[in-house]
């Protein structure tokens, strides 16, 4: 029996090469456009990844509910825009009107996300910290909170994505090697980088930032030195929430139809992968990892010919990098980074 089965099995391995193709021509043609798109997505991943990295640095745990913090921000953007009567096609507005709407949506998203982040911390982590629960328990409550938020949204808004609302018409700005870079990509990348530099500087220079680094390095000693650990932890969650809210605005800008109850989950996983890739606990690593995951995913998609490949390629690269450098590319922690 077995001696018949094994050769037959070997014969029946799917050898038709239709499902995986290396389309080098398409890759060469679309190289620059996929680079710019990849950088845009990468900037969004990086902003979300910062939330993971900061919480990991301070509490040493994956905040699995961070993707829900992000999606709540997306809903903030969505409700602001629908209150402002935006539709699927962008209205022709004056420049300052666009900026005004964007800032309004940004503020709402940031408030929603930061609030959600604080609620997550209060409900899922603080009671466990007080009880000195084992680490696995933190992870499970994070997953529990994540499920609860997702399915509360599901209950409220249903399974289908929200109607697409477009904020503004992307205007062509540059022409790089025959590929047009539009205003949307420029706005997202520049705004994300400014936010990340601001976060980096805040953590490096401000008094609160010093507190965050102290708690990341050694919570007990930091407490002895007069750092209010609880306050620092809440602050960290708020910063993560603010960045997730900003990322939510950019995400809705880029993919208007992406607001869905579970829309944040895969993005969250990829953002966490970005944080790990760059070296978790490292603020600059999150930027690098985010951009890399964005670029690699987009290249993989063009090279292998299906948008589904984005995630597969991103994860495979993550595994490969971790095998070579288990601590990530810039693997020093938040606490050990220089003052």
């Amino acid at each position: 029996m077995i001696s018949e089965v094994i050769p037959a099995l070997l014969h029946s391995v799917p050898m038709d090469d239709t499902w995986i193709t290396f389309d080098v021509n398409s890759f060469a043609q679309n190289f620059w456009s996929s680079t710019f798109d990849g950088l845009t997505f990468g900037a969004i991943y990086a902003l979300v990844a910062l939330g993971y990295t900061l919480v990991y640095g301070v509490l040493n745990l994956i905040n699995f509910a961070h993707s829900e913090v992000f999606i709540v921000g997306c809903y903030g953007v969505f409700f602001t825009l629908s209150a402002l009567n935006f539709g699927p096609s962008a209205p022709r507005l004056a420049f300052w009107a666009i900026v005004g709407n964007l800032v309004l949506a940004l503020v709402v998203a940031i408030i929603a996300s930061a609030l959600m982040a604080v609620i997550v911390e209060r409900v899922a982590y603080k009671p466990l910290r007080q009880r000195k629960a084992p680490r696995l328990a933190f992870l499970i409550t994070a997953i529990g909170v994540s499920f609860a938020i997702q399915y509360t949204i599901y209950w409220w808004r249903g399974p289908s994505p929200e109607a697409a609302l477009t904020m503004f018409r992307p205007l062509p700005i540059f022409d790089v090697f025959g590929t047009i870079v539009d205003s949307q990509q420029v706005v997202i990348v520049i705004a994300a980088i400014i936010l990340m530099i601001a976060t980096d500087q805040f953590i490096r220079r401000s008094r609160t930032g010093r507190g965050i680094r102290a708690v990341a390095q050694d919570p007990d000693t930091a407490t002895l030195m007069g750092v209010n650990k609880e306050k620092i932890i809440v602050t960290t969650f708020i910063i993560g929430g603010i960045l997730a809210g900003a990322a939510a605005l950019f995400y809705v800008m880029k993919i208007p139809s992406g607001v869905q109850y579970n829309g944040g989950f895969i993005l969250g996983v990829k953002a966490f992968a970005a944080a790990v890739l760059g070296g978790i606990g490292n603020v600059r690593g999150a930027l690098l990892g985010g951009l890399l995951i964005g670029l690699i995913g987009n290249y993989g998609q063009v090279l292998l010919g299906s948008s589904q490949w984005t995630d597969v390629v991103a994860f495979v690269v993550l595994v490969l990098v971790l095998i070579v450098r288990p601590e990530g590319i810039l693997g020093s922690s938040l606490g050990k980074s220089k003052a």
Partner: protein, 401 residues
């Protein structure tokens, strides 16, 4: 102890009693079964076996008894509900080996479940162009395939720890699901229908294992669960099991004490994966239809939730958690739509109030340690506590008593 430590409570019998009390408080004393674990352990082995046989017989009779309050009818067929509960229980038992014993956080366990399902489906379904073999042959084959991929995933990634491992396994689960969508041979959302079933017909010529009749599937899965439980119990008590516990408690210490941690972690991964593949194949046979929709990350996390909710590292807990996760939405069909919402909230509440799960793992290893300690100190086991002594003189070692 260094001279700068100051006053210290030396670990005398009072301290030992305090530890025992604290652990007693952690056990489910206030729960639904107060002190059951202690009473169970106090029973002689033969009595335990007798009770177990009665429990097993009742378990086998469940589909026929159809007990009133517990049944899922009307609404859901009780026999099919039992078959699904048994598959989930088997999944939880398999995942318990990885998460509970070895302490490896595997968030992509659904990948092995999917591999088992697809192995069974692609080798038995008429929809698949590949060679067809009898269904029962796919069970060991599904185990082998899943185990192979467990090793393939484990060897490069098990050098990672904790959260890194969690994210990598999560990615692996997602990769398997996406590949099932992309690869034409796996038929994406169309899937495979009429997955095979074990042979056999009853007196009227009807096949015994029908998709609409859960009873034979339940009995088959229950038998497999009992075999797996016996095997897992033996593993747990063996050198391998002790190595797993050591790795779970402190990997570095285990490594230093000469436990080849990497080897045993791969073992745990492979064994857990093979049980996952087995349950996947059973699931595919019972449901009779396999497509890519059933193997998403939410399901994977539900599996982990089942193990942790039941009690990590406890076989009975895993069984309970696995069956509950399948049972609750079937029993309360009205709330089935909110099952993830309820599980989410339940997970948070259980973790806050019972961080060890519903049935926490027995700490028999630690208990033996305490017995030995009490013997050494010359106290009667469980003797009355004396007052703790405070060592106030700096430099006095606690061990010099």
């Amino acid at each position: 102890m260094s001279t700068t430590d100051g006053p210290t409570l030396i670990p005398d019998d009072a301290a030992a009693q305090a530890i025992a009390d604290r652990e007693a408080r952690m056990r489910p004393r206030r729960g639904w079964f107060p002190g059951l674990g202690d009473r169970w352990n106090a029973l002689p082995r033969q009595t335990q076996w007798l009770i177990l046989i009665v429990v097993v017989v009742i378990a086998y009779l469940l589909p026929i008894l159809n007990p009133p309050l517990i049944t899922t009818e009307p609404g859901n067929n009780w026999q099919i509900a039992l078959a699904q509960m048994s598959v989930y229980a088997l999944v939880a038992v398999g995942l318990n080996v990885v998460v509970g014993y070895a302490g490896l956080l595997d968030l992509g366990y659904v990948a092995f479940f999917a591999l088992g399902s697809y192995t069974a489906a692609m080798l038995t379904s008429p929809d698949s162009p590949y060679v067809h073999i009898p269904y029962l042959w796919t069970l060991p084959l599904a185990m082998a395939v899943a185990m192979f991929f467990g090793v393939v995933l484990g060897v490069p990634t098990l050098r990672l720890r904790g959260d890194y491992l969690a994210i990598v396994t999560l990615g692996f689960g997602e990769i398997v699901r996406i590949l099932a969508t992309i690869i034409p041979a796996m038929k994406g959302q169309v899937g495979f229908q009429n997955v095979g079933h074990p042979p056999g017909t009853d007196s009227s010529g009807q096949t015994i294992f029908q998709n609409s009749n859960g009873t034979p599937w339940y009995w088959l899965t229950l038998t497999i669960i009992i075999v797996v439980l016996l095997a897992a119990g033996n593993l747990e008590r063996s050198r391998v099991g002790r190595a797993w516990i050591a790795i779970r408690e402190d990997e570095d210490a285990a490594e230093i004490m000469g436990v080849p941690t990497f080897k045993y972690k791969v073992w745990a991964f492979a064994i857990g994966a093979s049980v996952g593949g087995l349950s996947g194949a059973l699931f595919a046979g019972q449901v009779g239809f396999v497509n890519n929709q059933k193997f998403d990350i939410a399901t994977s996390i539900l599996f982990v939730a089942a193990v942790v909710m039941g009690g990590t590292g406890n076989k009975v807990g895993a069984l309970l958690g696995g069956s509950l996760v399948a049972y609750i939405p079937l029993r309360f069909t009205a709330i089935a739509e909110f099952k993830y919402l309820i599980f989410g909230a339940a997970l948070v509440i259980i973790m806050i109030f019972r961080p060890g799960g519903l049935l926490p793992a027995r700490q028999s290893l630690l208990a033996y340690g305490r017995l030995a300690y009490n013997k050494l100190k010359g106290f009667a086991v469980g003797g009355s506590p004396a007052s703790g002594k405070l060592v106030t003189q700096p430099g006095k070692e606690a061990g010099n008593e």
